[in-house]
C-alpha cells in the first residue's frame, strides 16, 4: 500500500523529481545502442501493444498474462524514488506502478520458490543495438524472492502519470530503488520463479565488476570507479557531487534483508 508512496515522504526527504526531459533523454538501454541518447532516438519503433508477460516456473497458475489484464487487476500508485546508476549518476523519478508482490500473488508462488528471474524482450528487427555483442541477449535479471516481495519493489508502467516511454522500458519494467539501475530490468516479457539463483546479464558479462545483489553501497567501489559519491543529473556543468547513501537511502526498509551477509563479498 500507500505506506511508501506519498509525495509527503518524498518532500520530507527533500527529493525533487527530475524533469521529464532529463528522465527520458538520458538512458541506458543497450538494446537500442550504448550511447545515452540512443534509446530516445531509436526506441520509438518498438511495438509495445499488444504485450504479454509469460509467468512460469514454480507458480500455481503459469501462463501468458496479457498486459491489459494485469493492469485491470492492479492499483496504480505513484512512487517517487531515487534512481542510482552503477555509473555513479543519479536521478529522482516519479514512477507510476504497482507492487511486484501483487503480480506474483496473481500467479501464485509455489512453496519451494526462492528466486525470481526476469527477461527483457528480444526483437532484433526493432532493437538495433542487439546486433552488437555488448551483452548476451536477451537481457536477464533476477532477485531473491524476499527482495522481489518487498513493498518497495514495484513494476512501473508510467512516469509523471504518463505511459512509460519506450526508452525507459515500456510498457512495463521493474524498479528496485535500493539497487543499481541495471537491476531494474526493462520491457519485461517473462518472469520465472525458481529455487536457484538465476543468471543476470551484467554478472555474466563481468562477474568481477557486477554482483548478483548489486545493492547501492558507497563502501564497496566498482573496480574502475568510486561509488562513494554520485552526480545528480540536471545540475549542469558545475554540478557538485553528493555522497551516495547506503542502500540508496532505503537502509531502514531493506537492511534487514541482508542481515548477517558480508556485503563486500555479496556485492
Amino acid at each position: 500500500g500507500g505506506l511508501f508512496s506519498t509525495r509527503a515522504r518524498a518532500q520530507a526527504e527533500g527529493l525533487e523529481p527530475n524533469d521529464w526531459e532529463e528522465i527520458t533523454q538520458y538512458n541506458n538501454y543497450y538494446e537500442f545502442g550504448t550511447g545515452k541518447d540512443d534509446p530516445a532516438r531509436l526506441a520509438g519503433q518498438l511495438t509495445t501493444s499488444p504485450w504479454a508477460i509469460e509467468i512460469d516456473g514454480m507458480v500455481e497458475r503459469p501462463g501468458t498474462y496479457d498486459f491489459e489484464d494485469i493492469l485491470s487487476e492492479m492499483t496504480i500508485e505513484e512512487r517517487i524514488y531515487r534512481f542510482r546508476c552503477v555509473e555513479a549518476w543519479s536521478m529522482v523519478v516519479p514512477w507510476n506502478g504497482f507492487e511486484l508482490a501483487d503480480l506474483l500473488d496473481m500467479a501464485g508462488v509455489q512453496d519451494g520458490a526462492r528466486y525470481v528471474a526476469f527477461e527483457t524482450l528480444l526483437r532484433p528487427e526493432e532493437m538495433p543495438g542487439v546486433s552488437r555483442p555488448v551483452l548476451e541477449w536477451p537481457y536477464v535479471e533476477g532477485l531473491r524472492l524476499d527482495e522481489a516481495r518487498h513493498p518497495l519493489t514495484i513494476m512501473a508502467t508510467g512516469i509523471y502519470g504518463r505511459d512509460i516511454p519506450n526508452q525507459n522500458g515500456a510498457p512495463i519494467r521493474l524498479v528496485v530503488p535500493w539497487k543499481y539501475g541495471f537491476k531494474s530490468i526493462k520491457s519485461i516479457v517473462r518472469i520465472t520463479l525458481t529455487d536457484s539463483e538465476p543468471p543476470t546479464s551484467w554478472n555474466k558479462a563481468n562477474p568481477r565488476e557486477y554482483g548478483f545483489y548489486s545493492n547501492v553501497n558507497p563502501n564497496v567501489d566498482h573496480p574502475r570507479w568510486s561509488q562513494a559519491t554520485e552526480r545528480e543529473i540536471g545540475g549542469g556543468l558545475f554540478s557538485p557531487r553528493k555522497p551516495t547513501l547506503m542502500f540508496n537511502g532505503y537502509e531502514d526498509e531493506v537492511a534487514a534483508l541482508y542481515e548477517g551477509m558480508d556485503l563486500s563479498v555479496n556485492f
Binding site: 532529463e22 555509473e87 552488437r132 558479462a205 568510486s226 549542469g236
Partner: protein, 205 residues
C-alpha cells in the same frame, strides 16, 4: 600524379595558423554547449569525452603524416607540430574537466590515478606527452639534435596508452573505442614494418 601534386600544392598554401585556429575552435564551442544544455542533461561527462576524443583523433592525425608521405607521396609535414600541440592542448582540457568538474577533489584525483587502471593508463600517456610538448619549439629541435627525434618517438606509446584508456573506460566491450585502438595499432605497425626492412632502419624516423 597530378592529384598528388595538387593536394601537396594546397597543403603548401594553407598556413599553419589556420590549422591551429580551426582545431582550437571546438574547445570553447563544446564548453559553450555544455553551459547551455547542448551536450544533454549530463554535460560534465559529455564535455570530458568530447575533449578526450578530439585529443585521440588529433594524435592519430599526427601519426598519419609520416606514412602518408612515405606511402602516398602526400606531404603534410609542416602541420605535424600543430597537430601534436593541439592534441596535447585537448589532453590538458580533458584532464582538467575530469579533475575539476568531474572528480572535484584533489585527494580523489590522486586516489583514482593509483587505484583505477584505466586512469593510471591515461595518466601515463599524458606524462609521456609532457616532454614532447615542452620540446616542440625550434630551439629544442636545434639543441637536442638527433636526440629530439628519438625523444619524440614517445608519441607511439603515448597514443597506444590513450587508445587503451578509451577501451578500458567503457562498460562492456564497445565497438567505437576498439576501432580507435585498431587504427592506432595499424599506424604503429607501419613503423615497425619499415624499420625491419634493411636499409630503411637508419634513415627514417
Amino acid at each position: 600524379m597530378a592529384w598528388r601534386d595538387r593536394v601537396n600544392g594546397w597543403a603548401r598554401r594553407i598556413p599553419t595558423w589556420a590549422v591551429y585556429l580551426v582545431y582550437a575552435l571546438p574547445a570553447p564551442w563544446f564548453f559553450y554547449l555544455g553551459l547551455t544544455g547542448g551536450l544533454g542533461v549530463e554535460p560534465i561527462e559529455a564535455l570530458e569525452h568530447e575533449y578526450g576524443e578530439i585529443a585521440l583523433q588529433l594524435l592519430i592525425i599526427g601519426l598519419c603524416i609520416t606514412p602518408l608521405r612515405r606511402h602516398a607521396g602526400l606531404n603534410f609535414m609542416k602541420f605535424r607540430r600543430a597537430f601534436g600541440l593541439l592534441a596535447f592542448f585537448y589532453v590538458v582540457l580533458h584532464l582538467s574537466v575530469w579533475a575539476i568538474l568531474d572528480v572535484q577533489a584533489l585527494s580523489a584525483v590522486w586516489a583514482d590515478i593509483v587505484k583505477r587502471p584505466y586512469i593510471t593508463v591515461g595518466m601515463a600517456g599524458f606524462l609521456l606527452l609532457l616532454p614532447l610538448a615542452l620540446t616542440s619549439n625550434a630551439l629544442s629541435v636545434r639543441r637536442l639534435g638527433p636526440r629530439w627525434r628519438k625523444l619524440h618517438r614517445l608519441v607511439y606509446p603515448a597514443v597506444l596508452l590513450g587508445a587503451i584508456h578509451f577501451v578500458m573506460l567503457r562498460k562492456g566491450l564497445q565497438i567505437e573505442p576498439l576501432i580507435y585502438l585498431l587504427v592506432v595499432v595499424a599506424l604503429l605497425a607501419l613503423r615497425l614494418e619499415v624499420r625491419s626492412i634493411p636499409g630503411f632502419a637508419r634513415s627514417r624516423g
